[in-house]
Symmetry: C2
């Protein structure tokens, strides 16, 4: 048998950090995003979040999990205070700086300065964006759902304005985030880039799965398969 069978007893007996590595690996590859906020008195905060999840396209809703620890509380406090945050996809040329934002900085320390990332602003959006990110959007807080099972909170917002590097936008709406070198996370601390297998057509019962073709585009502009 090539499989190891891990029971709840084995899990309970694991050292805390090892269990964290292990359980964090189970959900699969996770998105890598920087959430940027600014308090009402002008202090910026940046937090690396690997739990951003798509909730729906109309209205355009996005959620993420906020753990009850120190660094992220600054982010949550700013979100509650201003209703405004931005989500910035992390790419391979600044994932180390993004990771560094998870250090326990004081509320008075600005993670942009501490990690050499650059803030920029858009008219009508209170929160800063991360200059280095090639795909980022402004979100308005809609709801915070407390998860009593473990003291985390599910933060839901509506996507209001998007900034996307033009080269990644395709005619059918798909954004080629692989071309933007967007990274993903596994476990607590492992970073990866992605390599395309294929896009697949909408699945129908009794019809074999086939690769998606953007027929209307010249061949050199099609998504690689």
């Amino acid at each position: 048998m090539n499989f190891k069978h891990i029971t709840q007893e084995t899990l309970a007996a694991m050292e805390d950090r090892a269990r964290a590595h292990f359980i964090n690996s189970l959900s699969g590859f996770k998105s890598a995003n920087l959430i940027a906020t600014k308090s009402q008195n002008g202090l910026c905060n940046l937090a690396m979040i690997s739990s951003v999840v798509h909730l729906g396209a109309a209205p355009a809703l996005v959620g993420f999990i906020m753990r009850p620890d120190n660094g992220e509380r600054h982010t949550l406090a700013n979100i509650i205070e201003t209703n405004s945050y931005t989500i910035n996809q992390v790419a391979s040329d600044f994932y180390r700086q993004a990771h560094q934002t998870s250090a326990s900085y004081l509320k008075t320390q600005n993670e942009f300065d501490e990690t050499n990332l650059t803030a920029h602003y858009l008219d009508g959006v209170h929160a800063p964006f991360v200059q280095q990110s090639q795909l980022k959007y402004a979100v308005k807080l809609e709801q915070i759902i407390p998860i009593e099972l473990n003291g985390t909170q599910f933060v839901i917002g509506e996507i209001k304005q998007i900034l996307c590097h033009k080269t990644a936008m395709q005619s059918d709406g798909y954004i080629d985030i692989e071309a933007l070198n967007t990274v993903c996370v596994s476990g607590l601390d492992a970073y990866h880039t992605a390599q395309g297998l294929s896009r697949l057509n909408y699945a129908k019962p009794g019809v074999e799965t086939t690769e998606y073709q953007q027929d209307e585009l010249p061949k050199d502009q099609r998504h690689k398969n």
Copy 2:
């Protein structure tokens, strides 16, 4: 300016399918998992889910978003009926079959049979596992949180038993899911494998980010950097 600025007005004017592609691309790379269930009268169901998210390590909690559409309702009905489901990471050698489970099969159709995937069972777990998956776990339903903003539901469960291919388990608890060829998803229909950048040490204020080294392991067993 290399960026396109998309406002809410632009979003609202997009054709439905294009908006779905676009908004689904914003959260970043998504996990690819098959959720397997079985009704009390023995009918199996498989659903491809790209929203599985880590919630916490102690207790070991995992969540996912259930949309209010047809195929997934079978899965939700089985979960509510039995409290039992399994989550099975999707790998590159069966991602097409996994995608095919998203077709609108009838409740009486078994997605295992329809897509040539194989069910297997573990003592004490009602729901089936997917044989082809190299990392999978049994989950017990803990809570379903309705998200009134768009009619989705956040399904939370506790991880009870795990089956993991031995080659991917590392001494510090990390599971090398890249070595298992676990795939990730972007947008609605694009699949990718991952390529490691590095693991990074726990970040500390004022200390430069460094690569994680598993010093206790022989070099050939370390995670590649």
